[in-house]
């Protein structure tokens, strides 16, 4: 080890919120010029720790040293002047400002804006060249893709002379190509001597890109190790506190009769753009049909049409009977009556009412069911009792049905949605992004529940942007690109590269221009343009 002072050193940091001990006696050292990963389940205390470092919270106990000197960080202004920059999971940008205006926001000098803008423009150009941080300085934020917006956040930090960059779950919203580019940028920053703290729950990112990694569990730092000297399995175990099955364990599927049949489905959105351009497929009882693809290629619309949230044209039959795609009987209630369960992609906005209690959410969508009626009113006591049982069976923590949904962690919120939908025993279950933002222990459980439902002879449509998840759960895989299905693959024979090509819109592997086309398409996607057809 060198004898330079660590860029960041935390000594004995403790922080409690009421009775909850969010951080317990945490100490870490991060050397300059390294990427340090912090990994842990939701609620492990990662964000609290970083908020202390960035001056949002004051630690109850403990000391912070920046480059060897003890530093008080009472607010984020102090953090910035100590050279700390933070890139939040949810960007803090002014949508209708340009990039350069966002960069100088809060760091304008003087009364007039013009000199600040000129200065920022110059330094943005320099930073872009240095770190591959290319963004059009005059583009408005609302017109940028998510990946580019994130770059603006990084530029904001660098413009304020940050030497230490904290990124909170940076790849959660990015496409694989955007994520790769992000890590190239982080690599360049490291080579220039910047220190990076990467908070994530994705083990793959930790293993591939970090130099050292700290694991947090229940407010405590359980280990800090060199990445090269650890393994995914070991980290997962440290995180959860027990052995975790990273591979999904399942028997071969035994498909039976066709449950859902979709023929030539087309969907046009309110702006008149055709989002689904003629999609046909069948799902049989007892199989999981996985649809992979980069977000925004029509998967969401497909789920919405099947779930009754969106109108479409074409023919969909469910158990041999045609279902309405427009009009009065094309809504969530009618779909549920046809035994279609729906775990929506966005659990916080769609699958749950966050301000409802857990028990109220347990009948959401089924609240008109005669089972829950008590005369003209709802049988609240019965629903509470039922909810208690479901929360127990799905290991929702805490198992308190009177708690408001927003007070549960992401994984437990998802378990509430799954419990509601799976316990109805639907013939077809639509599952969108089942493990987005869900911690690793819960992922294992959710995957097992989906497979259990399949083994009971139910049909399952799985939509996910996580290719790993699609490959390990599905019995057949289709890739969706630009509103079309790009052919089906057997997961046993498919490989990631081939699926990746399909995701970029290349249906077969031609001899030469394939990679060029892929790059163009990835680039197009990254720039938020409509991808061209290969």
């Amino acid at each position: 080890m060198t004898d330079t002072a660590p860029a960041i050193e935390l000594k004995g940091i403790s922080k409690a919120f009421g009775p909850v001990q969010a951080n317990k006696d945490i100490s870490i050292r991060v050397m300059p010029g390294t990427i340090h990963g912090i990994i842990g389940e939701n609620g492990a205390g990662k964000s609290t720790l970083m908020s202390i470092l960035y001056g949002f919270y004051k630690a109850d106990k403990g000391e912070v040293f920046i480059n060897g000197t003890r530093t008080e960080i009472p607010d984020s202004q102090a953090a910035i002047s100590a050279g700390i920059g933070m890139v939040f999971q949810h960007f803090k940008l002014v949508e209708n400002f340009t990039v350069v205006e966002n960069v100088i926001l809060g760091a304008e000098d003087g009364f007039q804006l013009r000199p600040s803008i000129a200065k920022a423009r110059k330094s943005l150009k320099q930073l872009a060249e240095e770190y591959e941080l290319n963004v059009d300085p005059d583009a408005k934020i609302e017109n940028l893709s998510v990946g580019h917006q994130q770059r603006v956040e990084i530029l904001k930090a660098l413009y304020r002379q940050a030497d230490i960059l904290i990124l909170d779950e940076p790849t959660g919203v990015l496409t694989p190509a955007e994520a790769d580019h992000l890590f190239r940028i982080l690599d360049n920053l490291r080579n220039e001597g910047k220190t990076i703290i990467l908070i994530t729950h994705k083990l793959r990112e930790i293993m591939e890109y970090t130099d050292t990694v700290s694991v947090m569990r229940r407010g405590e730092m359980t280990a800090t190790v060199r990445t090269a000297e650890t393994s995914t399995e070991e980290l997962a175990e440290l995180m959860v506190g027990r052995k975790v099955l990273l591979r999904v364990d399942k028997k071969p599927a035994q498909p039976k009769q066709v449950v859902l049949s979709v023929k030539d489905l087309r969907v046009t959105d309110s702006a008149g753009v055709e989002r689904i351009k003629g999609v046909s497929f069948d799902i049989r009882a007892g199989e999981i049909y996985g649809i992979a693809g980069v977000a925004g290629n029509g998967q969401s619309e497909l789920m919405e049409v099947l779930g009754g949230m969106q109108a479409g044209t074409g023919t969909i039959t469910m158990n041999g009977e045609e279902i309405d795609l427009t009009g009065r009987y094309s809504d969530g209630q009618s779909r549920r009556a046809r035994s279609i369960g729906h775990v929506p992609e966005d659990r916080q906005d769609e699958g749950l009412i966050l301000d409802f209690t857990a028990w109220e959410n347990m009948v959401f969508g089924y609240h008109r069911d005669p089972d829950w009626a008590a005369g003209p009113l709802m049988n609240n006591a019965g629903i509470v009792q039922e909810a208690e049982g479901k929360m127990q069976r799905f290991d929702v923590r805490p198992p308190n049905p009177h708690l408001t949904a927003k007070n549960f962690s992401g994984g437990n919120q998802q378990k509430i949605v799954l419990a509601r939908e799976i316990e109805r025993n639907p013939d077809l279950l639509l599952v969108g992004q089942p493990t987005r933002g869900v911690d690793i222990g819960a992922i294992e459980f959710i995957h097992q529940e989906i497979i259990r439902l399949r083994d009971e002879g139910k049909a399952i449509l799985l939509v996910s942007v996580e290719l790993d998840e699609i490959m390990s759960l599905s019995d057949r895989i289709a890739v969706m690109f630009d509103g079309r299905l790009m052919g089906e693959r057997d997961p046993a024979e498919a490989n990631e590269r081939e699926l990746g090509l399909l995701m970029a819109g290349i249906s077969e592997e031609p001899d030469k221009p394939a990679w060029k086309a892929v790059d163009e398409n990835l680039d197009a996607i990254e720039h938020g343009e409509a991808p061209k057809h290969g």
Binding site: G18, G308, F356, F364, G365
Partner: protein, 364 residues
């Protein structure tokens, strides 16, 4: 994790807000050279210390319960119904038509008829803005407030023409049949040797208002419709996922809201004036907004807030009667109460949350 115990949220914050409003009001009264203590005593004495005072306080409170509930129901669907005033005026028209043109055999039936008429007319007046919001996206705040003016103009037209008895010099309808008069508290609760509520206008429709509170509570927290209204209010995309029709929720919740606002007219028009007069609502539709805000859109809260505002109205009238404090100052005091309990909620809430957090940390 909740930052504060529920009782602090429901009881402590409104009380502190009220106290602040009272202190500031005291300063204003002091500034115009009157004694705040004396003024306060007068208000309490006139509004709460005698049964006739209560008779007025509860009369006003009845109006505010109806309009407060109207705002609260709409608000659960995230509709801001500012049209309570206009809906109540139309409710008055419904009462007048029911009482002028139907020969009811008994006041109970007349009350039933006027209740239905008031609710139907109020609801109909809310239906148009609701339809425009649900189908055309016209903002409900804009349309309902415009409909207040249209309602006022409509009543003007009717009361100087169609409904005015020939030969009358006054913009008012004919008197209702005296047998339709609603029993007042005085008639209901006085005995020969102990007269109570003498001369006060509070009448049996106060109990209609209490029934409306119970109805709203059952509707919002116990019924499927209420579940859907709240779900739609919290998240429109969530409602879509669950198959709850937004159009239906907007229209139904506004119909209920308008109907409740209209019911106020049973109290004012059949219960007190016994004919339809101009401006019988006296701004109660707007007070309903403050009442719902202070009552946290809960029927019980609305009931308490309505009684408080009834006290302010009656106490204010007493002040104007017995002191040199001008009537306009009462409006200032009411405005301060609205300002502190409604608009400045966070000013009290945030320091209080911090105190509770600090207390909890000390315990653990």
């Amino acid at each position: 994790m909740d930052k504060m115990p529920a009782w602090a949220d429901v009881v402590l914050i409104p009380l502190i807000s009220l106290l602040l409003a009272a202190i500031l009001s005291a300063v204003v009264i002091l500034a115009i050279g009157e004694s705040p203590v004396e003024a306060f005593n007068l208000m309490v004495d006139g509004a709460l210390m005698r049964s006739s005072g209560w008779g007025y306080t509860l009369y006003y409170a009845t109006n505010f319960i109806f309009t407060g509930l109207a705002v609260a129901v709409a608000f659960h669907a995230r509709m801001f119904n500012i049209g309570g005033e206009g809906q109540a005026m139309l409710g008055g028209l419904g009462v007048a038509l029911a009482c002028l043109y139907v020969p009811w055999p008994h006041w109970t039936l007349a009350m039933l008829g006027s209740t239905l008429g008031a609710a139907a007319f109020g609801a109909a007046w809310a239906l148009i803005p609701a339809y425009l919001q649900a189908r055309r996206g016209s903002h409900i705040v804009i349309t309902t407030i415009m409909f207040n003016f249209i309602a006022a103009a409509l009543l003007n037209y009717l009361l100087i023409g169609v409904l005015k008895p020939t030969g009358s010099m006054e913009p008012a309808s004919a008197k209702f049949d005296p047998s339709f008069a609603l029993p007042t508290f005085q008639q209901m609760f006085s005995s020969a040797d102990a007269p109570l509520f003498r001369g006060a206008p509070a009448n049996v429709s106060f109990f209609l208002a209490l029934a409306a509170c119970l109805f709203v509570w059952l509707l919002i927290w116990r019924s499927r419709l209420g579940y859907e209204i709240r779900a739609y209010g919290w998240s429109q995309t969530g409602a879509k996922y669950a198959g709850i029709s937004g159009t239906r929720i907007i229209i139904i919740s506004m119909l209920i809201s308008g109907g409740l606002a209209g019911l106020m007219a049973v109290n004012t028009t059949q219960g007190e004036a016994e004919r339809l007069i101009l401006n019988s609502t006296e701004g109660a539709g707007f007070i309903g907004i403050a009442v719902a805000l202070m009552g946290r859109n809960h029927p019980f809260g609305v009931l308490l807030a309505a009684i408080l505002f009834g006290f302010l109205y009656q106490g204010g009238a007493e002040l104007a009667l017995w002191t040199n404090i001008p009537r306009e100052l009462i409006v200032v005091i009411q405005a301060l109460v609205i300002l502190f309990t409604g608009a400045l909620d966070n000013m009290v809430r945030m320091p209080l949350e911090r105190i509770f957090l600090a207390l909890r940390r000390k315990e653990s």
